[in-house]
Symmetry: C2
Subunit: 443 residues, 2 copies
């Protein structure tokens, strides 16, 4: 029994591929190797490129996987080069033939892809292993897009009675202006959100006054009065509508809120909770803490209960696989859901592998996890591992504490992503300070 693991990249996640600059593509390519965390003995992994040997050995060492048993496939470079695994690459005769050959020799019983779009459905069908992809027929008709559309989410959440921020799904400039003015002229703030985007990169905050702290979007635009709002909508229309006159969301922005999520695995039997977490927004997602530390237990219960309810709607529609409900928790404890992501998220490898396999389920309730990117600057990934070991900070399977380097972006940005595991938030924060002191940034 093997799992087919596909580290694909789609426009539904990153926006129009043609607009992704080459250095960003290179960065996505290194990020794509994180899918190795999912691998178990005998699995088949499709990556944009053959992985970095050091990273492969490190990851499989921690997951107790024999890398020699893995079959790693890479299709020829595509329209956007060799760094990202785009839909066109998954449609090449070479990868279809390679997968068909491998599938003939192994019993592939499961498929884990980042985003099960129609190219994934087509690949597994043409390679003869479509039965391994849960919800194949739904994926083949682009059903997964429904579980990732922010506009669809608002309707489904409303139908389920799950709380969302007041707002609208805008399709025409006039209604966008009216909705933004309705919020701003009453002293509130607005967030505009592209229908498809990730990590806050498709969002922008609008405020009638300066000084609002951004969270979940890169920037805050101050707009005073209808003419300024009209000009903003006109100038940003192409961006707001995803370059294709698409609908987008305008909703009330709540400052000083915590962003949290409840992630589930949707199967024929139901949506099973995979875990919860709290996103570090600075001002867009840079990391996360598992479990959430800034949310009261009763609020967390509500997050899980309502998140389960809305994810169940998508499951009932035909969605199978990982699905995550995101919400903001206002300072008064109000929970407002913002979207679902029917794909692997930036959190899934933590719950699925770091929590459940590396640290182990028996310690799940006795550990706090903090993952963060961009803060550990090093000359090489191997060098970073050495520094951690020398400082006594490397993850120790015996104690289930320490620092794991979950992703290697060193070749493009000089940064490695770390995940600190410790007994409580205070210990995690202390360890994180030690790690940051090892960074070239601290020099």
């Amino acid at each position: 029994m093997s799992t087919l693991i596909i580290s694909n990249c789609t426009e539904e996640i990153v926006g129009p591929l043609a607009a992704v600059p080459p250095e960003k593509r290179a960065s996505f390519g290194w990020g794509a190797q994180r899918m190795l965390w999912y691998a178990r003995d005998g699995d088949v992994v499709i990556l944009p490129k053959q992985p970095d040997e050091t990273f492969l050995r490190y990851v499989t060492g921690l997951t107790r996987t024999d890398p020699a048993t893995l079959q790693i496939l890479t299709p020829p470079p595509g329209d956007f080069g060799p760094d990202i695994l785009t839909p066109d690459r998954l449609g090449t005769p070479e990868i279809v033939a390679a997968l068909a050959e491998v599938a003939a020799g192994r019993d592939i019983t499961d498929v884990i892809s980042i985003y099960a779009d129609t190219s994934i459905a087509r690949l597994v069908r043409e390679a003869g292993c479509e039965r391994a992809l849960a919800g194949h027929a739904f994926c083949a008709e682009n059903g997964v897009a429904l579980a990732n559309s922010k506009a669809v989410f608002r309707a489904v959440a409303a139908g389920a009675g799950v709380p969302i921020a007041p707002g609208i799904i805008a399709r025409r400039p006039a209604e966008a202006v009216r909705a933004i003015d309705g919020l701003l002229s009453s002293g509130k703030h607005a967030m505009v959100k592209l229908d498809f985007a990730a990590g806050g990169h498709g969002n922008e905050i609008l405020s009638p006054v300066p000084g609002v702290r951004a969270a979940g979007a890169r920037n805050v635009v101050v707009l005073t009065g209808i003419p300024e709002i009209e000009r903003y909508v006109q100038e940003r229309w192409t961006w707001l509508t995803g370059g294709r006159d698409e609908r987008f969301v305008i909703e009330r922005y709540v400052p000083d809120a915590v962003t949290a999520y409840a992630e589930f695995s949707a199967t024929d039997e139901g949506c099973r909770l995979r875990g919860t977490g709290e996103i570090l927004m600075e001002p867009v997602a840079v990391g996360e803490i598992i479990p959430p530390q800034s949310v009261r237990p009763d609020v967390l219960d509500r997050l899980v209960r309502d998140g389960h309810r809305v994810c169940e709607r998508f499951r009932h529609l035909g969605y199978r696989g990982n699905i995550c409900a995101d919400a903001i928790v206002a300072p008064d404890g109000e929970v407002l859901f913002t979207e679902t992501n029917g794909r692997l998220t930036a959190s899934t490898h933590l719950h699925h592998n770091i929590v459940a396999r590396v640290v182990g389920p028996q310690r799940r309730d006795e550990r706090v996890f903090l993952e963060r990117g961009g803060k550990l600057a090093v000359g090489s990934y191997a060098g970073a591992l050495d520094r951690l070991a020398a400082a006594g900070l490397a993850f120790d399977p015996a104690t289930g504490t320490g620092v794991i380097l979950t992703a290697n972006y060193v070749p493009v940005s000089g940064r490695a992503t770390y995940c600190v595991v410790d007994k409580d938030l205070e210990s995690v924060r202390a360890t994180e300070r030690h790690v940051q002191a090892l960074s070239d940034l601290a020099a």
Copy 2:
């Protein structure tokens, strides 16, 4: 207890409003008066204009409704004039105030609109009667669009295991060309379908050979070889993508199929069958027969069972109100579903009013209904009623047979729409010949 009846018109039904020529708008305006069939004593009706007196008296006479008890409201003309009830007109302060005043004096417990878009949700909220609109929160977030999108339909049907024609949801020219070529080069035919359109007006049939009979689309385009397909996709791209780079459907076209439907009423309790029918495609919808006469009983059972299954998915998502599952029945009896319409359809007034109220539920299983437009040319609607009466063809409530003039397009096209009611198909056909002999076209 009053029902609020709104005869609205949206882009999701007719396509971009700016592209609808004035004579077509005038025609839609006369068609809008068909909503009077729904009225019962004390109801509130919002129409684009005050109705024609003769039509009002005729309809209410047959439904045994006192027209003096009806409150008929009309908003000021909108961006597209006075003939069609567009979303902008439903947002005017005048109609909000008028409805609020009426709602304060009557107990409005139900809303029937043609299409419950966000403008309907907003109007009833602002007028203080949103509780009368089932599924209000879902409508307010544009959820109804999900139950009308042909692309969403394919995913939901696939998820429910309901059969659909082989095809794809196209988003890029290259994949459209590949899908069309895949069908045509193997000797099959294709149908391209705009995501949002009605009555076959958003469809086109593509064939590798001349001579295919069109049904469900105005025309057949013959395409030979990839260069011709590429040219077709390029030239038609704006139309195919709804003028806004929208996805569209490409699926296998089955010639000589029957188009049939199963229509349901979705409530908190479930989807209840309203009725079935067979669409007369010449080559687009010109009328229908209730119940279907060209479909075997076992096939009709499958149509109802699978139609129920897919409509239930939309109900579970939050949709409430009328919902219709359309299918084609291939010559070999195979049933392939093509779309759902989460709105009032061209059939609903027949089931809801002509079958259930004018003829009466006790006679439902002993009557065949045939409605057809465009074939009865007359100088005036009143004159047409006189001709029917003089020929002894007027509907007789005592026998539950005869001819009902269900719509009045005489002022724009010189045509009235008739519905023949009789004991069996043979009698219906004989009566229809008599009616057509009364037409100016027969002279």
